[in-house]
């Protein structure tokens, strides 16, 4: 009956064994993902989120095939057409561009921004977290105070300052969003490492003469992954919203790019005449973020060793 707990418990035991024998790495990883999958598939909302995400990713990848029009093609004689106009299923925006095509292409940018910003922030944050957590001492003190300073800034203010310094543009907005995200991951990873590094199997690894990098790479990093995965999944949605917000303020992707934040920003000027011009991209952002949250919640439950269902 305590199968699930044991499965997770297996992780630690296995790692200890692994620490001793320096073997049996793959089965442990597999069983972790098997556990996740077995639990996740019971969570309808998480599955729904996952399917929606896969759908959006596929549509974005197939944009050149699926989009009925060039997303940048302007026709000032076909402005603000309503939803359902023949040839323009979701209508047109204030410059006569096809909203459906812009939506499809825009998914590429928004997802790219979300995932790559998270990847960047996570990589940087994880590295810093592993090092500071493992070495401690003055390195930890200095770096963590810097991280505290970063965290003390309101995220939007920090991102605005970064974009102001670098100039507006999609790449700079991505970088800004990513930098803002670093402290979050550093904190999570450092926390895990601090807890892990005093455990017996790590001490044993030390005693057996494993070098520090080996311990970090094979023991500390894999074992701090579960909270990271949850955080990253939830964070992608946050990053997408944040980047769209920067675009909305004119600091992210630049016109005429088909990007959801820009579409929202330009569409809101015509909210009375053509509400669909802002509602459609707004809904797209909302649904993607929502499904990421569902998925993130599902993963958290699936990875939580204390949660029984």
């Amino acid at each position: 009956m305590n199968n699930e707990l044991e499965d997770v418990g297996l992780l630690d035991t296995a790692s200890e064994v692994e620490g001793l024998t320096e073997q049996v790495k793959t089965p442990v990883q597999q069983s972790l993902f098997q556990v996740i999958w077995r639990r996740l598939r019971k969570d309808k909302l998480a599955l729904l989120g996952a399917f929606w995400l896969i759908f959006v990713i596929l549509v974005s990848l197939l944009a050149p095939i699926l989009a009925p029009h060039d997303p940048l093609e302007i026709n000032l004689r076909l402005r603000l057409l309503p939803i359902g106009t023949p040839g323009h299923f979701l209508g047109t925006d204030d410059l006569g561009r096809d909203i459906l095509s812009r939506l499809i292409w825009g998914g590429r940018i928004s997802l790219l921004v979300g995932f790559s910003a998270v990847l960047f922030a996570m990589t940087a944050g994880t590295l810093i977290g592993l090092l500071t957590g493992f070495y401690g001492g003055w390195l930890d003190t200095i770096i963590m105070r810097l991280i505290d300073i970063l965290m003390a800034f309101p995220a939007i203010l920090l991102a605005l300052a970064i974009v102001a310094a670098l100039g507006p543009g999609l790449e700079h907005a991505m970088l800004a969003v990513a930098i803002v995200g670093i402290p979050y991951y550093t904190r999570i990873v450092r926390g895990s490492v601090l807890a892990l590094r005093e455990l017996e199997y790590i001490l044993a690894a030390h005693a057996l003469g494993s070098d520090k990098w080996h311990i970090i790479a094979t023991h500390l990093f894999p074992n701090s992954l579960p909270p990271l995965i949850i955080a990253a999944t939830l964070d992608v949605g946050w990053m997408i919203m944040f980047a769209a917000g920067l675009s909305f303020l004119g600091l992210g992707a630049q016109p005429p790019a088909a990007e959801w934040g820009i579409m929202l920003s330009e569409g809101h000027k015509f909210i009375r005449l053509a509400p669909h011009a802002s509602i459609v991209p707004g809904l797209a952002i909302f649904l993607v973020v929502l499904s990421l949250n569902f998925l993130g919640d599902g993963l958290r439950d699936a990875l939580d060793p204390h949660l029984r269902r």
Binding site: P168, G169, Q254, P255, H268, F270, L273
Partner: protein, 527 residues
């Protein structure tokens, strides 16, 4: 979080109180008040330092100048000067001042105040010169040799050479008269505590919230009928419109073109329109390839479908621009080379200039700004047109304040190849368009020739025109200058915006002024 029933009740009561509190500050409080929704926060209330619409619209009512532009025109009439004499050679102007006028702080208006107001701007050694930045001082007073007090109510101004627009300049915001006592008292903070002789007195300025003016019951020209004018910065066009329709503001600017038809049909509101002394244009950077070549500049002029922009994005709230000069100004001519929409011709010119395969350029666009209409949408339409002739323009957007800092620069190498700008005339003289914007003498920081473009032959004509006093001769010179400038194609002039404001129909007798100032002295509010 769970709230018991009574908590909900408490919240409802609190919400009710908030709503009640808000509505008590709304437009319809006692006395007659007009609440104006401005596009942005005014920068300064010191009229001598103003260089933007929001400031002049809010603050110009506090001050008078020696002369005054007549209603709906840029002809001058007496204001703080009752009369004036001009020497036969056109170099010496003697102004006879109005007597018995008092500043809002109770001090007397006299010749000393006039000398103080002008010297403060132009004399770097004046003790109060550092109480402000006077962007228009050079334009307004550069021809002035000396300013003398003859007696308490006579001032004599001598010019270096005859200068035709001088009287018009004396009615500009930069030539307004400030209270010397107040400048001495407040120093740099005078811009937040303005004291003049105008029909309205300054009451308070809460940054980001509102500026309150009240009527000056002792105004020399007769007290206004309106008791109070409140200016509120509401940056988002849709939000401003919503406030008008909800009744929390009475009067708004910058109506989104697509919403105008609906507002005109709404019987609650009155729309006032007037052809603007305005030009919206794309500036070429003449100091950099490829736009140092006139053929490339002309090609871009042919490539843009300006009519489609005006009919589509602007919904005909502007008229097609053929020349840098708006048609409402004297000396405007239709007889210039026309750049009809012709992309074949554009491609041909590009090929001749050595760009048969097109080229890539940067294009700066502000996200909003006074007089900029719909900059981002217009920028994208221009970009799409250029792409069709092989010119790949990369748009970069900036917030308006940053945009001005980056485009009004001495070093043209920091500028992109093309960028947007607009201009609203200050004094109704063609000099205030052609010379200040297109003469080789007026590169920043002297003037506003932002693209650093220069045609020596045109410069000679423009210099002659401003020092000639004969109006017929001046007209002839400006017509000639326009023809040459259109051929030089230093800009792509796109449109001349129609000034449009919408107000509650209880506001009567409001007239727009070509300078864009809002005059509330003769306005009535019906109960």
């Amino acid at each position: 979080m769970k709230l018991r029933n009574w908590s909900w009740l408490a919240i409802l009561v609190m919400l009710g109180l908030v709503v009640a509190a808000c509505s008590s500050t709304a437009a319809s409080e006692g006395g007659s008040t007009i609440v104006v929704g401005l596009q942005a926060e005014p920068v300064t209330l010191d009229a001598q330092q103003m260089s933007d619409y929001n400031s002049t619209r809010a603050g110009r009512n506090i001050f008078d100048a020696l002369l005054h532009f007549k209603d709906e025109s840029t002809d001058v009439e007496p204001a703080l000067a009752e009369s004036w004499d001009i020497s036969p050679d056109g170099r010496v102007y003697t102004f006879h001042l109005r007597q018995g006028v008092k500043f809002h702080d109770g001090t007397d208006f006299n010749a000393d105040a006039v000398v103080f107001s002008y010297e403060r701007q132009i004399d770097p050694n004046h003790p109060y010169h550092d109480t402000g930045e006077f962007a228009y001082a050079d334009f307004t007073f550069s021809m002035v040799d000396k300013i003398e007090k003859v007696d308490d109510f006579t001032v004599r101004i001598s010019l270096k050479e005859p200068f035709a627009p001088f009287l018009a300049n004396m009615a500009m915001h930069s030539a307004t008269i400030v209270s010397p006592t107040a400048v001495e008292k407040y120093g740099r903070d005078f811009s937040k505590n303005p004291v003049g002789t105008g029909p309205f007195k300054f009451v308070s300025w809460t940054p980001g919230v509102e500026i309150v003016l009240e009527k000056n019951p002792d105004y020399w020209g007769g007290a206004p009928s309106v008791d109070k004018v409140i200016y509120r910065p509401i940056i988002d066009d849709q939000a401003r419109l919503n406030e008008l329709e909800a009744g929390s503001v009475d009067f708004i600017v910058n109506i989104p073109p697509d919403d105008l038809a609906r507002l005109k049909a709404d019987t609650r509101f009155t729309t006032v329109e007037q052809p603007g002394m305005h030009t919206w244009y794309v500036v070429f950077n003449c100091q950099k390839a490829p736009f140092d070549d006139v053929r490339v500049r002309q090609a871009v002029n042919y490539a843009i479908d300006r009519q489609a922009i005006i009919e589509g994005i602007l919904q005909n709230t502007g008229t097609l621009a053929n020349s840098p000069l708006p048609p409402v100004l004297w000396s405007y001519t239709f007889d210039v080379q026309s750049y009809e929409f012709n992309q074949e011709k554009a491609k041909q010119l590009l090929a001749e200039a050595g760009y048969p395969d097109g080229l890539s350029i940067n294009f700066w666009v502000p996200t909003s700004g006074s007089g900029m209409q719909q900059p981002v949408a217009m920028g994208q339409a221009i970009q799409a047109d250029l792409k069709k002739v092989g010119v790949d323009a990369k748009i970069e957007t900036f917030e308006w304040g940053t945009y001005l800092d980056k485009t009004i620069v001495e070093d043209a190498q920091t500028l992109p190849e093309i960028f947007q700008m607009s201009w609203v005339g200050d004094n109704g003289d063609p000099d205030n368009f052609l010379y200040i914007l297109l003469s080789g003498d007026q590169y920043p920081p002297n003037g506003f020739n932002l693209g650093h473009c220069k045609d020596d032959a045109v410069d000679k004509i423009l210099r002659e025109a401003r020092t000639t006093l004969d109006q017929a001769k001046r007209t002839e010179l400006y017509v000639q200058a326009q023809k040459m400038l259109v051929e030089d194609a230093f800009w792509v002039p796109i449109d001349h915006e129609t000034q449009i404001v919408v107000m509650k129909n209880s506001i009567k007798n409001f007239k727009l002024h070509p300078t864009g100032d809002f005059r509330f002295r003769d306005v009535l509010v019906e109960p």
